[in-house]
Structures are given as C-alpha cells and as structure tokens.
C-alpha cells in the first residue's frame, strides 16, 4: 500500500487520528472561554488571545519559581489554577472598567477590546521582554509513551486532552447543573426578568466575563506545553477561536464542541495530504463557505420570534 507496510500505515492512521484529537482539544480550550463570553453575553472579545497569554506567562513565571525552590514535579498543577485565578481577576476588572459600558454596542466592544489587546501586548513586552520564553516542564510532561513499537503518543498531547475534558465538563456542570449557571443563563436570556426575580445581573455579567477569561487563562497555561510564549502569541489564536465559536453556532456549547472537533479533524487531515499552509487555507475556506450557507452556525435551533 503506497510502498508502506500495512503496519506502518496503521500506525500513522492511529497517530494521525491522535494529532487530530489533540488539535481538537487545543481548539476546544481556546474556544470554550469565548463561547461563554461571545456565545452567552454577545461580547466580541478581541483580547481573548491576550488573556490566554496572561495564563501562559503566569505558568512561565511559576516555573521560574519552581526551578528556584525545586518543586518542578508538582508546580504545573498550581500553575493551571494560578493561571485561572489571575486571568479571572483581570477579566473581572476589565469588565468593570470597560466592557459593561459597551453591552449595547457589540461592534464597538470588538473595536475597544482590540485596543485593549494592543495595550496588553505592550504590557507583556515591557514586563517580560520581547523574546519568547518557555516554561520549564516537569519530566512527566515530556516525551511520549509507546503502546507498540512505531506508535508514539505525545504525553503533553494527552495532558492537554485531559485538561480540555476536565474544563469542558466543569463548564457544562456549572452552566447547566448549578444555580450559578442558571443565573447566568437566565440573565443572558432575559435581563429584565432576571433582574425582576432578584438576580444581580450586573454581578452575573462580571462573573460570566471573568469566567470566560479564566478559562482562556487555563488554555494559555496548557499551551506552554505545546508552544512557547511571547507578547504576540495571543494574536495567533484569536481568529481560530472565533471561527470555532461562530461555526458551532454562537449560543450552543454542544455546537462549539462539535465544530472544534470537525475543524480539527478536517485541518489535520488536509495538512497531512496537502502542504501545511494550503491545508489551513482549505480549512478556513470550507468554514467560511459553510457559514455563508448557514449563517446561524451548525447548532442554532430554529426559534419563533
């Protein structure tokens, strides 16, 4: 078969399937936060990528500490939590200072948050320097394990997958199984009513936005295992994130998951058979065309206005 033994082909199929999956979990992590902010609140947060970077830098910073007081083995867990907290707080503040004044003007949030992303990038640059930095990874995150000879499963890939799973599940539980989530959904669907039944909608907005940012932070932390961190790292992810959310049908969490999966598989396959950059173009093209035919996205229910 193409001059390769069946076993080789088999191995590749396995590993290819896996790289598809890990891309899927990367996209999912990127998009989840946005799905909440954009999907639920309708805020176009162009600084989403920068919140990821915040998480990444937090991790890097902690790793420096870890090396100093050597707890390299265990620090990564703390790093993720820290990343969440830092990004969460930052998001909370940003919402208070900026976003809340713009809820009625979605297009303007887009522009304002883009300005915000510029500022944040420069802050990163002047605090952490222009050069890309990398987190010191614990041994257990490096290398790969081999079920059989010829198959390597990257451990960091598995890790990111696991994380994506955890985050997704907890987001789901929060949104659909907790009072907090109920408040959020209530507020987003009918602000006035929610207010009338005694929900502090302003507070809900703030927490929801901060939550989205926090998740972005976690994503950022996770990405330090895959790529490095620089002031402009965030801008690499922003468009992809939006594509995933919009493609999935902004309001639906299921949609986000599904579209992340679809896009990931498509891209990793296309990139296997085409050159990498053309693969990316092809993927984006497909998304855009589908979106033109089905603007409301894949999973938007037909509703009676």
């Amino acid at each position: 078969m193409f001059g390769y033994t069946l076993e080789e082909v088999g191995n590749i199929v396995v590993m290819q399937g896996f790289s598809g999956l890990s891309l899927f979990s990367v996209l999912l992590l990127m998009a989840l936060g946005l799905a909440i902010i954009f999907g639920q609140m309708g805020v176009i947060n162009m600084a989403h990528g920068e919140f990821m970077t915040v998480g990444a830098y937090t991790t890097v910073f902690l790793s420096k500490l870890a090396v100093e007081y050597d707890f390299v083995k265990s620090y990564f867990v703390f790093a993720i939590i820290a990343a969440f907290i830092v990004a969460f707080i930052l998001g909370y503040v940003i919402e208070y200072v900026m976003i809340r004044h713009l809820y009625k003007r979605p297009l303007d949030t887009l522009l304002a948050t883009w300005g915000l992303s510029l500022v944040m990038q420069q802050i990163f640059r002047s605090t952490f320097g222009a050069k890309e930095v990398s987190a010191e990874l614990p041994e257990w995150l490096l290398g790969s394990f081999q079920p059989t000879e010829g198959i390597d499963i990257p451990i960091n890939g598995v890790f990111v997958m696991g994380l994506a799973l955890v985050v997704t599940v907890s987001v789901y539980l929060f949104m659909f199984r907790s009072r907090g989530g109920l408040r959020v959904r209530a507020t987003m669907q009918n602000r006035i009513m929610a207010g009338a039944v005694g929900i502090n909608t302003k507070q809900v907005d703030r927490v929801t936005f901060a939550l989205g940012c926090g998740i972005a932070g976690v994503a950022g932390a996770a990405f330090t295992t895959i790529a490095s961190t620089g002031p402009t790292t965030g801008s690499l992810y922003i468009v992809d994130s939006f594509m995933v959310v919009v493609f999935g049908g902004a309001a639906s969490l299921m949609g986000t998951i599904a579209s992340a999966f679809g896009i990931a598989q498509a891209q990793s396959l296309l990139q296997f058979f085409m050159t990498s950059s053309m693969g990316k173009v092809a993927t984006l093209m497909t998304i855009v065309i589908i979106l033109m035919m089905r603007p409301e996205g894949l999973f938007a229910a037909k509703v009676r206005k």
Binding site: I44, L107, G115, Q122, V239, F242, M243, S277, K280, L291
Partner: protein, 377 residues
C-alpha cells in the same frame, strides 16, 4: 444641475469644509512640508480612502467590514503587478535564469509568466482591473452574505477570516505573488520614473485630488435617497425591507463602492511608496483602518480623513521618539474613542462648536475637525 452640485458638495457647510480640506492638502501642506514629510502625508492620504469607505459602510450603513485591507491590498497589487512587469525587462534581469520574468518568480523556478499576470502588461487594462478585481470580490462576498442576511458581528468576523485566508494565500503562493516580501523594487510607470522628486509631487497631487473626488462621490451617495435608506437600514432593517426595498442589493452596492474606493487608495499607495506587501491584506491593517475612521468620526467623511492623518502622524512621531509608548497610546486612544467619543473628532467638534459662524472660524483657524451636519440635508 446646481441641485447636483449642491448634492456633491453637501450644502454650504459641506462645501466649506471640503474647501478647507482641499486647501490644506493641496496648498498648505505642500508649502509647509519638505518632500519627505509630504511623502508621508501622501501615504496617509491613501489610507484615508479606506477610512472614507468605512464611513459609508460602517458609519452610515452599520456594516463593519474587517476586511477593507483586502481591497486596499488588491488594488495595490494590481497596480504593482503592472509596474513589476515593466521593471523586470530582459536587460535589467539578465542575471536571472529566465530574464524578463519578475525576480521572485525566477527565484521560485517559474519559467514563464502565469496567465493571470498577462493582462497587467497593458496600462489601461491594469487601471480597469485595479477597480474591477476588488469590486468583483466584494460583489461575491456581498452576494453570499447579504442575500443570506449575514449581518452585524458575523459579517465582521467572516470578512476578517476572508482577509486572513487571502493573506495566507498571497504569502503561500510566493511564486506568483512575491510572498511575504510582496512586490518590491518598482521603478517606472510606462517609462515615467516614479521615484524622482517631480514624480513624487505629481503623484501626491493626483492622490489628494482623487481623495477629494471620492469624498464628493460619497457625499453624492449619502445625500441621495440611498443615503437616507442606508441610515434607515442601519437602524431598522426589517422596516426598510417591509417598505418594499431589496435590502441585500443596497448593501451589496455600498459594499462594492467601498471596496472600489479602498482599491483606489491601494493603487495610489503602490505608486507613491514603490511597492506592495501582504502586510496590508491581513487582519491588523484592516482593523487599524477602522481606528482611523473611528477617531475622525465614523459618520463624517471629512472627519475620517483628519482622523487618518492625525493617527498616522501621531504614530510616526511617537514611534520615532519612544516606540514602546506607541502601542499604549494607540490602544488607549482606541479604547477612549470608542467608549467616550463614539462620533470621534467630528462629534467633539459638533459638541464644542455650536453655532456655525464661530465654527467656521474655528475650522479655518485650526485647519482641523470638520462638521457633520449639512452632509445630509
């Protein structure tokens, strides 16, 4: 006939502000500035074309396109392709494996001119394509989106994605496009050396003149019933539709006009700066252009021009003295404008220059900040 002129100039007010702008661009600046600075202004003015197009599209139409850079870029590339072909005549490219080809093609082992380069051997055809290519793209995008009622945020995000696709394509297909480097080292326009000082002056005035014309064209559109409908669509699209108008067509049309205006800017950019690069097609420039319009005032044609000039001048000055601060300033400015002055400079002027005799004085005196009303009465 004078009805028409009235429309084009946008009433007494409009005429005055247009005149001030014209004097500023065509007389004062050329007199005050040395050729280098004037060249910079020329470059900014090419961006102003895009800003104007955004006033039509976004300010009045409520359609925020984050892909205007595409059209600017396409216009620029069409022009650049012509100039490149002229620059790479067999003699000056004799060092190559296949002389007569643009250098970057030669580097990518391309031995004959790709078919889509052929038309750019003739100037008239090129000038036509400078307008047609972007408009065609705009038409296709518009058709696909507006007839399916893709609007608001979704339109913005999709146009952004398309801009991204286009830039990856241009970079990826460097054999045909010059890749990241873009199309560089352009020398002459059918024999006329565009790098000489005299040529630079010439192009500057041509550029400024074209800008004024584009403003007039936009004025004409905005003061017509079409303009009123644009506003109406922005506020109550449904109502317009149920007043018997085919909303999609109107949107497609204005999108195409905007694309065309941006493309003119792009072409003029190529002529003045002497090259075109994919860094204009991508997302960042597209959004920056929106800033320019926002700062000047998304509703005001002339405001947008001043906005563009000011922001870019600031950019140049600042990045010369302290580059670090620049991004803070740019970002901060953008946040501030969006949050506190949604109508930009024009809005501020509106607010603080109440009765117009005084405001005329101000305008004449400051050579700045225009007035919006009067453009649409």
């Amino acid at each position: 006939m004078n009805v028409l002129s009235e429309k084009v100039l946008g009433g007494k007010q409009g005429a005055l502000h247009l005149a001030i702008l014209a004097v500023l661009l065509l007389v004062i600046l050329p007199l005050c500035l040395d050729l280098f600075r004037l060249g910079l202004i020329g470059k900014y003015v090419t961006y102003a074309f895009v800003a104007i197009s955004l006033v039509l599209l976004w300010g009045n139409g409520g359609i925020l396109s984050l892909g205007q850079g595409m059209f600017f870029g396409l216009g620029g590339y069409c022009m650049a392709m012509f100039l490149k072909l002229e620059a790479s005549d067999p003699i000056s490219t004799k060092i190559q494996t296949t002389p007569g080809l643009p250098d970057f093609m030669d580097w990518n082992q391309i031995v004959e001119l790709p078919w889509f380069w052929e038309p750019f051997k003739s100037l008239p055809l090129t000038l036509l394509l400078v307008l047609v290519v972007p408009v065609l793209l705009a038409f296709i995008i518009g058709m696909a989106m507006f007839t399916r009622r893709v609007g608001g945020v979704y339109f913005s995000i999709i146009t952004q994605a398309i801009a991204l696709i286009l830039s990856i394509l241009i970079v990826g297909q460097q054999g045909y496009t010059g890749g990241v480097n873009g199309i560089t080292d352009l020398k002459t326009l059918s024999g006329w050396d565009i790098r000489t000082d005299s040529a630079k002056y010439c192009l500057y005035f041509m550029n400024a003149g074209l800008l004024i014309l584009c403003i007039m064209l936009s004025r004409f559109i905005l003061t017509s019933k079409f303009g009123m409908l644009l506003l109406a669509m922005r506020d109550k699209e449904e109502r317009v539709r149920f007043s018997g108008y085919d909303v999609a067509r109107f949107k497609i049309f204005i999108f195409c006009v905007a694309a065309m205006i941006s493309a003119i800017g792009g072409a003029m950019f190529t002529l003045q700066i002497g090259f075109m690069s994919p860094s204009f097609v991508g997302i960042v420039p597209s959004i920056e252009m929106v800033i320019f319009a926002a700062v000047g005032g998304r509703m005001s044609l002339i405001g947008a021009v001043y906005g563009t000039l000011l922001v870019n001048f600031g950019k140049t000055i600042f990045s010369e003295t302290y580059p670090e601060l620049w991004l803070f300033l740019m970002g901060g400015l953008f946040i501030a404008v969006v949050m506190f002055f949604p109508d930009g400079l024009a809005g501020i002027y509106e607010k603080y220059a109440p009765h117009c005799s005084f405001s005329m004085l101000r305008a004449r005196w400051l050579k700045k900040v225009p007035k919006v009303t009067g453009e649409r009465q």
